[in-house]
Each structure stands twice: as structure tokens, then as C-alpha cells.
């Protein structure tokens, strides 16, 4: 389907370019070029570049081509006067031969060149720390190997994602302000970071029984505009597997995750935005409700992380808690958001330089056309000042009358 569409659009684009080349009238050429540009905008859409497609249409087919048409009409230069003999009569065959030779070489290179189609893109693993560890008064410090990744992280707070090198690490939790050289960690465990991972290291449990759950997040774009994605972590004290369900207003029960065992993170699940009532049950048992959370507010286009944890009361009973962390999704590839983000981060300097070039071009265009007009006015003025010889000859005669 996509292939057929591509061939149709490509055929139209090539035909329009060829017609632009051969039409005698410059206005027709400009119109064919507009068709060609529209085709390229369509191909941009197929190449996941919606922003470029729209810029192509507004800037190229809109602004630039209107400028061309305007100049053609202004100058009345639809056709160049047919000259008797072209000055370079040998030019036509040589140009055609050279162009075809270039096309042959380029196509051979493209077809034989074996453009790699399978190389995946490689991204460093992204890691953040979330604190769902209840009972730590001043928060926690988290170390990956010997490097501190979070300092004084309060309950219900998380760090932002940071890129790390892939490899084996040991994650260690300390009470805030502890010295990793001297003090014993509250908890430690080895983790492995591989490329393309987006991981949240969630500290959960209580100070007496801490644990770290590694949750793999999926930050890819969600198709549904009002959608969000969440990952649930089971850190309930029963240490049993749970089912997570959403309760609708009618009291109906929609199971979101089944059989999530203790200390594990679920797969990413897509959900509609809104206020939800979330209930947790023991796995396979829909009658006993372990916990219920009303009105869990969730924003659209975010990746949420739910930690089902608990707080230990002084009398050793416990009260369940849901701790949510959310992060903005990665913008969709090629969308305005993605392009804008790149433009204002890595490409800020080129962007400003291009803006400067545009400004200089604008001034240049004004200066060029303005000077020409001034010169002509000077010429007209000079012609007006030169006394006409006929007038000068007649003047004495008239005076003599």
C-alpha cells in the first residue's frame, strides 16, 4: 500500500520536474514546480517528518513560489525572446550526456552501495531514581557504584532521567547524609544497564524492609492524544502476587494488570486520561480488595509509575499507599515538538546564524533594488538638466522678436 503510494507520488514528482524543464512558458514552469514541491511534502509525511512537510508547503510552495510567480509577472519574462542561434549550440548534447552519466553513476552507487537497513539506533541507558520508601525522615541518598545519583531525595520525589554508560552496576540506598565509606547501606543490589533502556530505580518498602525495583519504562509516543502509559510496582507487605484493576463509575471492574508478583514492575500499559479509581486484589481473587485508591489524577501524554507501597503504623499494622511518579513522554519523531526541542538545544547557534543570514538577505534585497532605482533617477535627472539643443537655438530668435 505504502509502496504503491510512493510510486504514484514519485511518478508525479518526476513528471512535474520534467515538464518544468521543457515548458516554454516560465509561468507554467513555476506551476509545475509547485506540483513537484507538493509531492515532496507528501514524501516528507511518509518519512515521518510532518513538521517539514508543513514547512515545505507554507514556505516553499507558498511563499517562495509566489515570489517567483510575482517576479515573472512583474518583469513580463514569461518567455525569453527566441534567439536566432544559441550561443553555445554544443551545450545541449553535452549537458544531457553529462547529466545522464551522473544519474547512472549515482544510481549504481545507491543500488550497489548496500545502504544498511537493519542497524538499530543506539541510545545510552537512561536512569532515574524514585523514592517510594516510607519512613525515611530526611529522604535517602542513592549511589550507583561509587557515584551519587540522588541526594536527600524525599518521599514521593524522583530525579530526572540521566544517561549512563551501559554495564554492570551496584545500586545502594543510604539514609540521607550517610557516608558510603563508613556506613552500611540500607539496601544494595546489582543491576545491569543495557543500551536503549529507560529505567526507573524505585526504592520501595519501609526503612526496616527496603527494596529496589527496576522498572523498564516505555517513553515512546502514545498514539491516543488523551492517553497515558503506566507501569505498576508491587511493594505490598503481603509479598503475594496482585491484580490491578480500574473501577468504572458503574462499579464495573476492568483488570489492567494480572498476577504482578512482589518486588516486580509490570509491563507498560496504556490508559485513558482522567480521574480513575484503582483497586488492588490478590491474584485471581476478585472478592478480597487489598487496597483502593480513589480519584487518581493522571495527565495525558505522560509515563506514570505507580508504586503500591505501605506505611507501617506504630502498632505494627499497615496502611497501603500509592505513590505516583510521572515523566513527560518523548516527543513523536519529526513532530514540531521534537524539531523544536532540537532547535532550541543542540542547534541553537546554527538557528541564530540562519536567522542572521535571513536578515542580511532581506537587507541585501532591499539595497540591491533600491540602488538600481536611485541610479535610474539620477539618470533621469541628468537627462532633464541637459539643455535641449533645439531649445537653445530657438531661444535667441525668440528674444530678438
Amino acid at each position: 500500500m505504502e509502496l504503491t503510494l510512493f510510486f504514484i507520488v514519485a511518478a508525479v514528482a518526476v513528471a512535474a520536474a520534467a515538464l518544468m524543464l521543457i515548458s516554454e512558458n516560465a509561468v507554467h514552469s513555476a506551476l509545475f514546480l509547485i506540483v513537484n514541491f507538493a509531492c515532496i511534502a507528501f514524501l516528507f509525511l511518509m518519512l515521518h517528518a510532518p513538521f517539514l512537510a508543513l514547512v515545505q508547503i507554507t514556505v516553499y510552495t507558498g511563499a517562495i513560489m509566489v515570489l517567483f510567480l510575482f517576479v515573472i509577472m512583474l518583469l513580463g519574462a514569461e518567455r525569453v525572446q527566441p534567439e536566432q542561434t544559441p550561443r553555445f549550440s554544443w551545450m545541449t548534447p553535452v549537458a544531457v550526456i553529462l547529466a545522464l552519466a551522473f544519474l547512472a553513476v549515482a544510481s549504481t552507487a545507491i543500488i550497489q552501495g548496500d545502504i544498511e537497513l537493519t542497524t538499530p539506533r543506539v541510545a545510552d541507558p537512561q536512569v532515574r531514581v524514585a523514592n517510594a520508601l516510607s519512613g525515611a525522615a530526611d529522604g535517602i541518598d542513592v549511589y550507583l557504584n561509587d557515584e551519587r545519583i540522588a541526594q536527600d531525595l524525599d518521599y514521593r520525589e524522583s530525579t530526572t532521567f540521566d544517561a549512563w554508560d551501559a554495564g554492570q552496576y551496584t545500586i545502594a540506598l543510604y539514609a540521607a547524609g550517610a557516608d558510603p565509606e563508613a556506613d552500611e547501606p540500607l539496601y544494595q543490589q546489582p543491576i545491569e544497564l543495557t543500551t536503549d533502556d529507560v529505567l526507573t530505580l524505585a526504592a520501595a518498602g519501609t526503612m526496616q524492609e527496603p527494596l529496589v525495583v527496576v522498572a523498564a519504562e516505555d517513553m515512546g509516543p502514545i498514539d491516543d492524544e488523551d492517553g497515558l502509559r503506566f507501569v505498576a510496582i508491587n511493594a505490598l507487605p503481603d509479598r503475594a502476587a496482585i491484580d490491578v484493576a480500574r473501577l468504572t463509575r458503574g462499579g464495573e471492574r476492568r483488570v489492567l494488570i494480572e498476577g504482578l508478583s512482589y518486588g516486580e514492575a509490570s509491563e507498560a500499559v496504556d490508559l485513558q486520561t482522567g480521574s480513575h479509581t484503582i483497586a488492588v486484589y490478590p491474584a485471581g481473587d476478585s472478592n478480597t480488595r487489598l487496597a483502593e485508591y480513589e480519584d487518581v489524577e493522571l495527565d495525558d501524554q505522560t509515563a506514570a509509575l505507580w508504586v503500591f507501597g505501605y506505611e507501617r503504623r506504630p502498632d505494627n499494622s499497615w496502611r497501603s499507599e500509592i505513590v505516583t511518579f510521572s515523566a513527560a513522554m518523548y516527543p513523536a519523531f519529526g513532530g514540531p515538538h521534537h524539531v523544536g526541542e532540537l532547535l532550541f538545544s543542540r542547534y541553537l547557534l546554527p538557528f541564530e546564524m540562519v536567522a542572521l543570514v535571513l536578515l542580511v538577505a532581506m537587507i541585501g534585497a532591499i539595497v540591491l533594488t533600491h540602488e538600481a532605482r536611485e541610479k535610474r533617477q539620477r539618470l533621469v535627472r541628468r537627462l532633464a538638466n541637459v539643455p535641449s539643443p533645439t531649445v537653445e537655438q530657438q531661444a535667441p530668435g525668440e528674444a530678438g522678436k
Binding site: 518526476v14 524543464l21 514524501l43 518519512l47 516553499y60 519523531f333 542547534y347 538577505a361 532581506m362 541585501g364
Partner: protein, 104 residues
């Protein structure tokens, strides 16, 4: 974003064809405005290849380059058309075969 259904070679091949058509326009036509439009066609062909490779590598940098090419092309068109207007005013023609200033 899975693997593209249309092979990237096809896009690059189309871009090469359009580029050659544009180059032939520059070499064969005598109308200065048409030569200009052919240059625009060549720029667009290059843009298409850049966007195709950006898609191929899942990398936004190629698209940013396309964006910059577009802005520079807009600047170039503004100056170029101003030049053409100026030349037309002084010589009453934009046939590039007659624009040999040093010969006669």
C-alpha cells in the same frame, strides 16, 4: 516507529533523479528565472535524501539540516530575485546568453 516499508534506496534514487533534472534545467535553459527554479529543485532533491536518511537512522539531525536548507534557500531566493530584477532593469532581458558583460 518500525522499519520503513518503502526501502530507503527508492527515496534516494528519486532524489538523484530530481537532482539530475534540476541540473539539466540549469545547463539547458536560458531564462535566468528558470535556472533559479531548477536550483530550487536541486535543493529539494537534496532535502529529500536528508529526510530519508534521518528516517533511516531514527535521528532528528537530518530533519534539522533540511530545515536550515529551507531557510537558506528562502534567503537565497530573496537576494537572487532582487538581482534578476536589477539586471532586467538595466538590460531589459534575463536571457543569460545575452548577459556577457565583458565581451562586447
Amino acid at each position: 516507529m518500525g522499519t520503513p516499508e518503502v526501502a530507503i534506496e527508492l527515496y534516494v534514487l528519486l532524489s538523484a533523479i530530481l537532482f539530475v533534472l534540476g541540473a539539466m534545467g540549469v545547463l539547458l535553459r536560458r531564462n535566468a528565472i528558470l535556472i533559479f527554479m531548477s536550483i530550487e529543485l536541486m535543493l529539494n532533491a537534496a532535502n529529500l535524501a536528508l529526510a530519508a536518511f534521518a528516517r533511516q537512522w531514527g535521528n532528528g539531525d537530518g530533519q534539522l539540516v533540511v530545515f536550515f536548507v529551507m531557510t537558506v534557500a528562502a534567503a537565497e531566493v530573496a537576494v537572487g530575485l532582487a538581482l534578476i530584477v536589477t539586471i532586467f532593469r538595466t538590460r531589459q532581458s534575463i536571457d543569460i546568453d545575452t548577459l556577457h558583460m565583458f565581451k562586447d
